[in-house]
Amino acid sequence: MHYQRLLRVLATLATLAALAGAAPAPVQSQTGVIQGRVLDATSGRPLSNAQVLVTGTGIGQLTNASGSFLLLNVPAGEHVVRSTLIGYTEAEQTVTVAAGQTASIEIEMSSTAIALDEVVVTGVGAETARRALGTSVEVLTSDDIAQAPVQSVDQLLQGRVAGATVNATSAQPGTGSLINFRGISSVFGAQTPVIYVDGVRVDNDQSTAAGTGGEQSSALADLLTSDIERIEITRGGAASTLYGSDAATGVIQIFTRKGTPGAPRITARIEQGIEVPELKYIFDTGVIFPGRVESGEVTGTFLQDEYFRNGQAQSYYLGVNGGTADVTYSVSGRLGDRTGTQPKDASTNYNLRGGLQASLSDDFTLEFSGSYVRHNFQRLYNGSSIGDPITTFEVGDALFFSGASTLREAFDIFLMPDIDEWVNRFIFAASARWDIRDDLSARITVGSDNRSNQQRIYQPIGFTPGEATGQLNRRDRSFTSVSLDAGATYAWENPDGSIGSSLTVGVQGFREDESIVNGNGLGFALPGSFDFDAAAEITAFEGNAEVFNGGLYVDEQLSLWNKLYLGGGFRIDAGSSFGDNIDTELYPKATGSYMLSDDVGLPFVDELKLRTAYGQTGRFPGAFLKDRTFSAISFRGESAPRFANPGNAELRPEKTTTIEAGIDAALWNNRIGIDLTVYDARTTDALFQVPRQPVTGQGTQQENVGEILNRGVELGVNLDVLNTRQLVWSLGGTFRYTHNEVTDMGGVADFGADGSQKRVTGCWTMVDGECRGGPVGAWWVTMPVDTNGDGLPDGSERQFTGGFPVPDKSGSFNTTFGIGNNLTISALADWAAGHQVFDWGSVWATFNGIYRRERVRCGMEEGAAEGCEYAFPTRYDASGVAQGKYSQNAARSAFLYDGDFLKLREVSVWYALPEAFAAGMNASRASLFASGRNLWIWSRNEIVDGELNGLSGGGLQLGGETSATLSPNRQFKFGVEVVF
């Protein structure tokens, strides 16, 4: 095939170019071939995707669907062939290769329920087997990732990580999920874990453009899942201590593919799909507004009939991966496009990625990875009361708000604005490792994330009521981070294996620069003007932030008889955001683990590891909040200053001290795996925005005054139900519970968090006559009250409802069926519970005189309202005379609903075509696949999606409130993947 030859030539050229300056590996003349298969030791079932490697040579390959591999150019002589596969114990076999001959082997691998030999690097300074860890590190492998029907990393984490709650914010493109591990540990800033890609800290901001009615553009949306080799996740505590003042919310470390040795392997994947709007929470209540029903103008399902539509989605991927023993590479491109399920809801993304690993000598290795993402998307106003088509049609009076005489005209008016955004993102990382001696190695990683985006919100002439001349808002944000991580490890082991030590000393730090420029043009003379400088009034705003944080870390791992492991370490941190009187911060940690099953035989127990850890992590303050500052705006042509930040020379990071304990267990012939952790994480010196007395004219100042407790349990279980040659069936599940409590207000009065209706309080409930703090963001809303004791509500005041916006329980279920060697069916469901969600849609509905809640609860049929629970109780005056219903402002408690939900998140089917069929295409493997995502919802309430999170912008984002907006679309994809 000509194209194959061409691609091989191109790949070789790429390899040669990458090796510029370095001599290519010499051609081996005395070589042979190893062919073989990898099989499950119990069932004899061939194992695909096992990594087979000739040790000491770099020659390796992944097995195909029938478990086969073929290793070429193996130097003649005796070799050890090693096979690794997640879920199996590593296996080796010795083989002798004769020049010009083919040696055949079969490698049998034993399944294991817990991957204790798996090596992780996150949070431990040097590569360490999980066996030796005193903490729990979650790992997603390339298998988990490659077949997941998702686009971005946040979607990938949904339901796949024990101890994580990952909830979507919207169906619209460019938005990300709220990710939370181990509860809300801070009252400022997002709780999103910090994210590293190949050792480089990347942008994880959830609010990178102007909000469009509760929906924010997120930097998570362009962290795509292409070519990810593995993801390691630490959820805070000792596992994150080495990241110092930056890791209280946990660390997600993504490793991208750098290729495996062998001839170029070309992977082509084509996906086509449809997206169907999830209409469970759309009721078309708006068009029943008084005066519109009887006209017969609409059927009552206007939104469903006229507005929403099924969308198309397509994705194309092409990747090349291969290399020699010294140089491996992985290069790919991906194009994704979707039309969306609402008008002006389309998105397109382009992704180019490359990874390279080069061994320049026996002891010196370089790695490089780079990616480029371009993301273009459109957006609609969603979740606001006016100007947003869904809200206005669903819970408002579209004719009144648009001034139109027909709903079709109103529809056209609400679709006038254009909200367009593009993102350009480059991430690159370079690292070098030098094995100075057998027991001493050094490594360094440097890299950068450069993300820029531009959002243009264009409201053309005729859209804005009262300002008929149109306006344009343009917002540009540029973000740059530079990361450095360098360290050296001295590893030593007593020859008898009784004691081993690994000591790592290193430095790690990053710098972030963020710049935001807003331009606004108001009033265009003519249609078609799209530059804001053509407007009658032009305004511009700018914001800049710079922050550096770095530190020295020391980590010691001690192993005793390969079953008792003790660890200890610390990080000393300095940062540009620390107050002038604060030089450094110290974060210590200590861990221990013990392979109990090595010493004590327990029935049904194959492996049992006990572990415990103590560790501190931190979260640095806002970039310039240590300084007393004055801000200024332009007013009447003059620069007009006022007080800004009051200043605090004692400002320091808040610290989370975590004590945790857990077990990793493999039971019942390695059929059941359990990963259980309990933890107590206490954030001290918590940064509260402490108000100054208004009489000072000063606003609020961040101060280290609070204390927040998170206590909980994280559980992951997997079960191999069946493991036969023809049928494999596994079940899995995760569970997470977190108790979140503000244990000390530091003398500060209750204050609002993430909006005025969520509160941080030290007195949520009374226990034994004393106040107990509430969870961060406890709901605090207006409620009807009886002020004169006559049993009739006559007043209104804000009170705590007893609810909170963040689920305190969440989990997932998954199952996978394998039938024969070719067919795999898997499903994933996730759930969250315990939280209350606030429905702004019903607020607007009620304001507009629509009793949305009753319609759903009681139906619309004649007389059905009798006996229904009204959203608003009747308000009485002091003498008991009815005054009509409470206003929506005075009875907001009526809009809080139980948020519990369960979603069937994914079902996917992969079918590997018979090898002969693939061979007919000159392919080594070919697969067909189909998947569905967001397929089914169960929710405790029928009004609002308990998963969705309307976001208010920067700062703490707790979610738990949304307006009339669309839930994530149902996605159905079909595709083919061919590997040449």
Partner: protein, 490 residues
Amino acid sequence: MMKRDISIPRWGRLAMAGVLLGALAAGGCDAIDPTGVNNPTTTDEDLAQATNPTEALLPGLRAQFARLINAYVVAEVVTDNYSIHGTGLIQTLDAPNEITPDIMNATGTSATGVYWNVQELRALANFVIDEIAPNDAGAPPALVAEAHYYRGMAYLIMGEVFSAVPHEEDGAPQPVEVALGRAVTDLQAATGFGPQTNAALARAYRLQGDRGAAAGAANAVLSADAEFLFAPPYDAGSIANTSVFFLVLRALQEMQPLPRLDFLDPKYTVRDAAIPIAKAEEMHLILAEVALASGDLAGAKSQLASAIRLAGTRGTVSFDDIDERRNADLSLRPRDSEILVRADADSPFRAGLVLDRPGDGLTISNISGTSLDADSVAALSEASDLWHSLWLARQEILFLEGRRLADLGIKLPMMLREIDQNPNISEGGPGTVPVLPGFVPVAPRYAMDVYSPVELYDGDGPDATLLSTMVTIGVDMNRVLVQNNASPFN
């Protein structure tokens, strides 16, 4: 297979690394120093570098004064002037007895931000007057006088709007009398700033009940300029006139006037519309009030007539109103000029108070408007009728200039944050609850804003038919003021 070792031996690489590190240590560090950050806002150190700090900070005071006036004006929704229709303003503000300190917790320039903004203005003026100007040899006296004016206005508005507020950190709430006394002191130090200083003094003396001083200050203004007007403009690009958003721009035009004041609405139609801070009409009205309180009916008539005539000479704007007018229940409000309105059940129906809406080219007074005419006032003989005309003239001519709250004697509570943070203020104590004169009706809810019939039209939309041409407002607060001798001069 052995990997090929590239040409540089280990000692060579060690040497290269050593040279690199040595070069960095020797001075290259600055070039790659990642730790330096630059705060883009002015810090204390930066301020110390300013060559003319008083001059530099004065625009900040002007801007903060504009913020305060915004909030002060929008706070008229608490009175009978406006009712709230929409979600941008907290509806509880329509029921003044229900306003709690947490409602006043805002720092923006809408109604609930009036406490924050008055304190920020006072604190910023303190900073300029007490800390910056004394150390600024180049501080022009005129600018220092202007700073005193803003602090005086802050104290004056404190006295008008709140029953008691602290004047310093950890300070106990100070009653109205102390605030007005400090206003007078500052305003007396600000006379170099122009007639607006005397206009403010006249207001302060009026609230103190000092007829002579009030008349003296008012006359001083009129002597300086018989048509005096101090109305600095707003800035469409930064601090815009907040009321314009609620009067015009938001799709739900959320501030809706009492039907008998419909002809005055919207007084401000564009974002940079100026709000009159001081004007000669108010001086005439103060002089009329002094005369009435002194039993000089002829003098009162003369001053009232002067105010009305001057108001008639002020500017107007032409406004295309696309709004249909709706009340808080989204029913159509009076919007036809054939509608007659009476101020209460005992008052006569009057024509010309309601404009045709939606309507093109409506003429609205943007400085002073009134339904009174000078001749009718001159024909009045009863003191009570003159008092009624005086209160009505104040309501109409000073419409959307913030005075109605003080005229009705309604005092708002301070913001919750102050109560929480100041150890010398406790909930329920002075200044922490709304204070209403007994004559301000609180039942039914929104009593000052209601009128009948509620259902004026047979349906919804532009084609709805008018069912009644006669509208009766529930209570005439001007009559209530007369009956209760509410003038501070009495």
